[in-house]
């Protein structure tokens, strides 16, 4: 039987820790034990960092006892997607067999900032190899095995932040850090029934993170609630001279922002060809949201949004992984399609890449203008729920599977938060996303908090865990 606090949001855990009702060391031991006993069942974990975790937990305990409380993450365990560099001999594998013994002599900025906030690194979490950079088409695309969903281990977690989604959903850690280039936070948040926040591009330093696409990569939290995402974002956001994409624009989480009177936009076509269960839950979500928001349909001008973002991703990933491609070691990757997926990207012409970058500027202005009257764009987090763990997921996605929200959101660097909004008839979670204008994390988090205050999907957890 899991202790009561295993599925407590960070905010509640923090109150207990600060009041001395929960010991950070006991908390760390509990989650380390769960990572060890349950993590392998779901292929969710690469490395458990027990020694480092207990050292950090003991320090947190001593500091809190003597009144040096650092804030809501002090003494709270977490897991990091295994593309974030960690020092001390802890491997950073990028989920990929050719890098399974890779180590670094430094911590990624996010890891360092979380340490400064007093958080406790309990594990490096499983991920899709190279964050999906090889063009994988199936869940079995990681040397740690296909990531299994805590709601039903015969189904996938989503990816590429697979272990991050599974570990929060399963109560293996109170929160996790993931990354998104195109869908890699929102997909596992959707499939695993947790909250996931993709911050504005440049909000969080990527120093020490594996690069898949320099102008698309973002790091963000996966948590039990949107409120928790705000707490974690405040700890990890901010400028970093080691990542020139970061902006000198401080982020202070506003947990008291109004949670009513919102204007939401619904992108025309956003619900075309989505799964039946996803659509039913989304329509129900809109009814709930009508209590605190108006919803109007909008249409974006006709631009090749997906081609813009896809071309940038193709060109930058071919360059980021040039050494791996030339070495021929892609043949060591797990998914057969990842053995050759990067090769075609090596022939993106420079002029087409530059055209995509020029069109990105048009796309960003277009999206900002269309969204300017609204607090957020609301849409299903994904078009379909989790797919079976042993099937190619692109075969299970209905319709033509266009992803305008993902293309615009990631291409223009816009923030989005996904929170659970129900279950399909098969008992698989679905999510609703709120995408905001650049730098508007506080607004979308307020909308998501409002939604979660009117629903209890986030209070439900996988049976038996």
């Amino acid at each position: 039987m899991a202790p009561d606090f295993v599925f407590s949001p960070i905010r509640e855990l923090a109150e207990e820790i600060r009041a001395g009702k929960i010991s950070p060391v006991d908390l760390a031991e509990t989650f380390l034990d769960r990572l060890e006993s349950l993590g392998p069942r779901y292929n969710a974990v690469v490395t458990i960092t027990r020694e480092r975790a207990l050292g950090q937990a003991r320090l947190a305990e001593r500091e809190i006892e003597r009144g040096s409380y650092r804030g809501p993450l002090h003494g709270v365990p977490y897991g990091a997607k295994d593309l974030l560099a960690t020092s001390g001999g802890i491997p950073t594998t990028w989920g990929a067999a050719p890098f399974r013994d890779q180590t670094f002599d430094h911590d990624a900025t996010v890891i360092r900032r979380l340490e400064e906030a007093g958080a406790v690194l309990a594990a490096k979490l499983a991920m899709i190899e190279l964050a999906g950079g090889g063009g994988y088409r199936q869940p079995n695309a990681s040397f740690t095995g296909p990531p299994r969903n805590p709601w039903n281990p015969d189904y996938w977690t989503g990816g590429s932040s697979s272990g991050s989604g599974a570990s929060v959903a399963g109560g293996f850690v109170p929160f996790a850090i993931g990354s998104e280039t195109w869908g890699s936070i929102l997909s596992p948040a959707n499939n695993c029934g947790v909250a996931g926040l993709r911050p504005t591009y440049g909000r969080v330093s990527r120093h020490g993170a594996m690069a898949l696409s320099w102008t698309l990569d973002k790091l963000g939290p996966l948590c039990l609630t949107a409120d928790d995402c705000g707490l974690v974002l405040e700890a990890i956001a901010g400028p970093d001279p080691r990542d020139p994409s970061t902006m000198d624009r401080p982020f202070k989480y506003d947990a008291d922002a109004p949670t009513e009177g919102f204007r939401l936009a619904l992108l025309k076509g956003a619900t075309t060809d989505v799964d039946e269960g996803v659509l039913a839950n989304f329509e129900e979500s809109l009814k709930v949201l009508e209590r605190v928001a108006t919803v109007e349909e909008i249409e974006l001008p006709d631009l090749p949004y997906e081609a813009i973002t896809r071309t940038i991703l193709n060109a930058e990933s071919a360059s980021a992984f040039e050494e791996l491609i030339e070495s021929g070691r892609t043949s060591e990757l797990t998914a057969p399609e990842d053995h050759y997926g990067l090769y075609a990207r090596t022939v993106v012409l420079a002029k087409d890449y530059l055209k995509a970058l020029r069109l990105r500027a048009t796309m960003a202005r277009t999206a900002d203008e269309a969204m300017s009257p609204y607090d957020a764009v609301v849409a299903p987090a994904r078009r379909s729920p989790a797919s079976p763990v042993d099937e190619e997921f692109r075969r299970t996605t209905p319709g033509t599977a266009r992803d305008i929200m993902g293309a615009v959101g990631n291409g223009a660097g816009l923030p989005s938060v996904s929170v659970p909004n129900g279950f399909t008839g098969d008992g698989l979670p679905t999510g609703v996303q709120f995408m905001g204008k650049a730098y508007d994390e506080n607004t979308i988090l307020a909308v998501a908090r409002a939604y979660q205050s009117m629903t209890d999907w986030h209070d439900r957890h996988p049976p038996g865990l």
Binding site: P304, A307, Y340, A344, A361
Partner: protein
């Protein structure tokens, strides 16, 4: 991007890496190059003005500044 251009690019990939790939894998690479070509075609269909430039601006570098 024409089919001819796509074929030329595929031949370039094949020439560089073909000895590592099975015929089945090469066929998948061909499809991948065709997808790259399709996305390029979509981009090329949009007119931009001469002065429409990317967001990423090169900044000359001096240590410490």
């Amino acid at each position: 991007m024409s089919n001819e251009e796509s074929e030329i690019l595929f031949e370039l990939v094949k020439g560089r890496y073909g000895d590592r790939l099975t015929p089945e894998e090469l066929e998948e690479v061909r499809k991948g190059v065709e997808r790259v070509a399709e996305t390029a075609l979509a981009l090329r269909g949009v007119k931009l003005e001469n002065w429409d430039e990317p967001f990423s601006i090169f900044k000359p570098y001096r240590k410490g500044e």
